[in-house]
């Protein structure tokens, strides 16, 4: 299992945030990758003709932050249309390093159905992705078995927010 060295506690265990992205689905990010939870009302702006799983943007601390709906991305075969996606109950702000020479810290938002919480993750918890038919491999690094909710993919934020052109499968629908 890939690990972020910063998260390493005793060489085998690391902390992670579990992000509930739907009633039946969680993902995880590293302890220091999630930096803010927003539970109050937010104004979302829709960017026309962007992928449905990422067609909203919000203003956070004076910056424009894209809102990624991982559940929609994973479950939807038809990812691009100009329909409104649902407004999330909560969002969290995550940080990642941009690709390229500068590798500056960038921010993104993840749509949530409930508030995140922390767990300990060990190598022994490694397991396969929840559903091989879905597109976890394109955005996840690994997966661990959550005691209560089962397989929980650990997502790679850089691959989510800085995909190579058409890395995220996109299919046009009318």
């Amino acid at each position: 299992m890939e690990q972020n060295a910063e998260n390493n506690i005793d060489g085998n265990t690391c902390k992670a945030w579990v992000l509930p992205i739907a009633n039946d689905m969680n993902v995880a990010v590293g302890e220091f990758e999630m930096i803010h939870i927003i539970s109050e009302w937010l104004r979302f702006y829709t960017v026309p003709h962007s992928p449905t799983y990422c067609n909203k943007i919000l203003i956070w601390q004076g910056q424009l932050v894209p809102v990624f709906d991982i559940n929609l991305y994973i479950k939807s075969q038809y990812s691009i249309n100009n329909n409104e996606s649902a407004v999330p109950d909560f969002v969290c702000i995550v940080a990642y390093r941009a690709e390229g020479q500068t590798k500056t810290i960038q921010f993104g938002a993840v749509s949530l159905s409930a508030l995140p919480y922390k767990v300990d993750v060990t190598d022994e918890l490694f397991c396969g992705y929840p559903d091989e038919e879905q597109r976890w491999a394109s955005i996840a690094l690994s997966c661990f078995q959550h005691a209560e909710y089962g397989p929980t993919p650990i997502v790679d934020l850089q691959r989510i927010y800085c995909p190579e052109p058409f890395h995220l499968d996109m299919v046009r629908v009318s």
């Binding site: 960017v47 003709h49 424009l64 894209p66 990624f68 100009n82 995909p163 052109p165």
Partner: protein
């Protein structure tokens, strides 16, 4: 194209209902009244045509999700005639405002929001609202793509 866009002297804001779209000033040929639009259609997705500098151009109407609609909206008062090296057409809108680049904090559309059908090149915050920067070419992609869907 992007550098040319950012070096543009200014932008014209088009109000399309709730949607705010910025186009580079250097691509705006003229502003006309929608009263001058002829309902004769040369393109099935247009709402008619207009004569700009002696040349007949198709006129298109976008809703506030930037979908091409084939009927005129009551609130549209102005036809903005756009032109680049490849294409020229008119776009109807409710109102227009000149915006100086200095007033707008522009950021490139995040990679995860890009696809070949999205006309937005940059996003900006202007007076606490998000605005979408497009140009004649990318808006024309939306029009062409509408052809494919019909």
């Amino acid at each position: 194209m992007s550098e040319q866009l950012l070096n543009s002297h200014g932008f014209l804001q088009l109000n399309l209902g709730k949607m705010r779209v910025l186009v580079p000033q250097h691509e705006v040929q003229s502003l006309e009244s929608t009263l001058d639009i002829s309902v004769e259609k040369n393109d099935m997705n247009s709402i008619g045509n207009i004569i700009n500098n002696g040349v007949t151009q198709n006129v298109f109407n976008f809703d506030d999700k930037l979908n091409v609609i084939q009927s005129m909206s009551d609130s549209r008062r102005i036809c903005v005639c756009l032109q680049n090296d490849d294409v020229a057409y008119g776009v109807t809108c409710d109102a227009v405002n000149n915006i100086d680049l200095q007033e707008v904090k522009l950021v490139e559309l995040p990679e995860c929001m890009k696809n070949k059908y999205c006309p937005v090149l940059y996003l900006g915050i202007y007076k606490n609202r998000v605005i979408n920067v497009v140009n004649t070419s990318t808006l024309n992609n939306v029009i062409s793509q509408t052809d494919n869907l019909n």
